[in-house]
Symmetry: C2
Subunit: 133 residues, 2 copies
Amino acid sequence: MNTPNLTKNQALVLDVLSRSEQPMSAYTILDKLRDNGFRAPLQVYRALEKLLDFGLVHRLESLNSFVACSHKHESCCQHHGTVAFAICEKCGQVSEFHDHAIDDRLRGWAQQKGFKAEKTTIELRGLCSACMG
Amino acid sequence: MNTPNLTKNQALVLDVLSRSEQPMSAYTILDKLRDNGFRAPLQVYRALEKLLDFGLVHRLESLNSFVACSHKHESCCQHHGTVAFAICEKCGQVSEFHDHAIDDRLRGWAQQKGFKAEKTTIELRGLCSACMG
DNA sequence: CAATCTATGTAATAACATAACACGACCATT
DNA sequence: AATGGTCGTGTTATGTTATTACATAGATTG
């Protein structure tokens, strides 16, 4: 899944997400793109679907929101196994990380149980160091 | 957080969830409980909120659904650290498991980054062994 | 040119979740 | 018994997230 040329809508959505410090819901993205001709949620969801496929964007399940992948451009996260997220409840900052040991344990469990994992979600909700005070 | 006596609504919701082979959305639960006098989503959500607190029910973030905790009664999951779920896309079966090594790695990452995790979500989506064929 | 594929636009609706307000049961204290 | 507090509950309305269905336009290819 190499990152192909993006369509206009995909580029707009990715741009908005990339500039944001925080995850955004589809509807927030929609609002930001009204001036660019976006009228309906579907325009956002369709762009997001592709961007997720390309690995340029991640979906945060526990927030029903989306973030741009923090691994800037070219050859993104595919190489790193599962992506984990630490989400600060206070400031909204999201840290993306990878851990091979965790991947191994999950793979081990799946193998032992005969479970074939297509997609793995790991999300920590809490407070980042800056917000702990 | 010991498991206290449940109220009528909490008991009804837990009962419905416990009998189900699959995770249920709040609205599906609501439908099942119409005959018991449930009329509005809030009745379900309020019961779920408490059951989640008690650790008798888990929320599956990637499904916007709920399951009864598989550790039957008394002294549930609190003792096991983070709970992980493997969810079969085909049959809906959910397997709940715990892994101390994963807990350790996540704790290690958090400690190193100064992140205080309040709640951790681990969900595998895929196919269970019975559905792989 | 037709056939097809992909991206797009629009409207309507479905699915998930919460806010706001009211009422009654229970319990403690006065 | 009266007061006040907390908690569970019921109801209506509303807010938020996501999808279905249908129509159009452009590019590509046989």
